[in-house]
Amino acid sequence: MTKAPGKVNTYRPSVGHTIWQNRTLILMCLPAIAFFFVFAYMPMPGAYIAFTNFQYNKGIFASPFVGLKNFQFLFISGQLGLLLKNTVLYNIAFIVLGNVVQLAFAILLNEVTHKAYKKSAQSIMFLPYFISDVLVSLLVYNLLNYDFGFISHLVRSLGGEMPKVYQNANAWPFIIVAVNLWKSTGYGTVVYFAAITGMDSSMMEAAQIDGANAWQRIRYITLPTLKPTVIILFLFAIGGILKGNFGLFYNLVGNNSMLFKTTDIIETYVYRSMMNSFNFSQSSAVGLFQSVVGFFIVLGANAFVKHLDPDYALF
């Protein structure tokens, strides 16, 4: 084959060659690939359970096929609207507020020059991420409960009257969002912080020489550089927009139905309906529904991003 003169080199190496050339990178990816293969792809055929009347002695694939019967449950409950609303609104609050706060903290941390302070601040922020939801719920209860709570005591000793938080549904969106922020900020900050650290420092130096102040550096250099990271994290998060954090909601609210109006999400509803019947097919149907909707939302969001700026799209 002769190359036409003046044309761009269109030589493409063979697949084997590409693999060989990137062998170290691929080797490093291997654990992650294995992880997703084992825990995400291999179980996928099992989603078939959502369409069966699962019999233990027959196994998933030999159980009788029942079509969409298992999906009926969510739709005839009459609660789907409320559940969707709560689940989606909480997730939007978590995603938007979470990212804004994490971004802010990462930038602030970056501006801190005292090394020991920076390290310890980061560690302390990270800690809540490791506290289990069960303990968090106990902490919250011991702060807020009416009879013996810490805050109730404080308010009373100052001569005030403590509202009954555990009987007031309107207070809970704020409490849950606050708890979620408290738990996740440290973790998310690290991601942004890493992105900032990876920035080309010559740009900063150039800006400094040109006389840009701290605010201008953040506004015109740090933030634009972080844009791809923000978009990627956003795209990752939005796929789970129909999935609630069961541990957090269930532990904080439990079976306190006075709060359900503002705190009931798909997961807690499914749990409450099926905790006595152990219907694996039906609960899988709900999970499948959430995943499929999430999948299309990711596709949609990605297409939207691609439309705006193809460089930032995931695929």
Binding site: Y56, I76, Y141, D147, R272, S273, S277
Partner: protein, 505 residues
Amino acid sequence: MKKLLAVLLAAMMLMSIVPAVAEIDTSEHVKIVYLVTGDKPTNRTDEVLAKINELLTEKINAELEFRWIEWTDWQTQYNLALATQSGDIDLIGTATDWLDAWPNSQKGAFLALSEDMLKTYAPKTWETVSEAHWNLCKYNGEIYLMPEDNYAQWTNHGFMYRGDWARAAGLENGVHSWADLAVYFQYVKDNMPDVIPWDANGNGSSYSPQMAGGWQTSHTGNIAIEGFPVSIFYGESKDNPYTLSRYYVEGDELVNFAKEMKRWADAGFWRADVLNYTGDVAGEMEEGKTAAHQHHTQTWTGERTTMERKQPGSDLGFFYFGEETGNLISLNITHGAMAVAAQSKHPERALMVYDLMRNDPEIYHLMQYGFEGEMYTVEDGKFSRPEGFEDSKDGVSFNFWWGRNDDLEYKNAQLDWDAIDALYAEYDKVKIDYPYGQYIYDNSTVGVFMDNLSNVYNTYMPRIVFGMNDDPEALVKEFRQALQDAGIEMVMSEIQSQLDAVYKK
């Protein structure tokens, strides 16, 4: 001629037993895994198990191994273990009222046990369980469960209260009604500032069926039907048991309950945030910080002794739900039962092991009490533990609640048998047999609606039970409307026709 025939018959009967036993091939040593609910013991269970395994190896060339379903999240873990079995479990402790034995039979978790199998491999059990009792263990004509039908116990719910405080409250004979209970709680509230009358841990919904059902049992003749994922299906009365009660859909009694509980909540009988409180009520009672504990008779028998030690003179009494109306149902024989796992690789040997666990005196006593002499002594058919004995350290825990046997059982000498026998005698005067033993709920037609009813119940009932509302009457009305919207009438008529199919032939 007649004599000859009799001899021949006897010989034939003997022949039919002897070869059956001789045929069993136990040349291969097998391990039988026993699935049981409970926390992995920290006491001498392993030592005792080693001894039992020696005996089992000698007798039938098998050994026993535990698979514990720890109490944390036990319902989910238990059902998951059954659903994902792959020959890794052989014997399964189960129950029709608290461990979903029937739904699990329907889902194919258990092996159907043929009469031949039982006769051959569990002959002692086969003999001692009556035909009527075997019939109560059948689903679609097949036996799935081996019932604990020779063990006297009571697990009817009620309230434990302190006799000393009840007398101080002017209740000379103790608490015997919901009205007495209110008087008792009010006395505690007024006179003991550091004691919460009933410091209920209302997080989780386990009190809903007990409290709502308790009031119902005490104020109507209704009888609870077991085996539903939501506790709103009751029979009308002992004279008319096979007609469903409409208690939850209409009538005043539920409203009265809601109003009274609202009054109790306002009076401060439990903490204001009861629905999110997770405490150890029994522990608090033992420390004198709460005046009552809601659980069942069997718990009370042990708790009475514990309380006497920790709060001397407390004279712990028990008010049982249904006491006012004499509405008391004997325990269903399948409150505890053993099943064989559907995927078990050695179902025959599993049955043989169970037969010995249940009927062999040496193995039974090891399992229930440990090493005689060292861990317990027997006198007058009652067993005592040595001085300083602590169950969590020195005891043995097989949690064998699936075939206890009164023929081999020793009474615990440390319990207060005068008080216990007095209560049991009272029970015996009013009790009736569980009327629905033959009925197994079939979930296939209305299951979807049942899940929604379950959600409605779990949403409203905790608020009714703990008076967390401004207007109890309106809340009950709302609850009933939600039940209607979720299809209660359709579900009830389906259950009624299922009941009719069994009992109105």
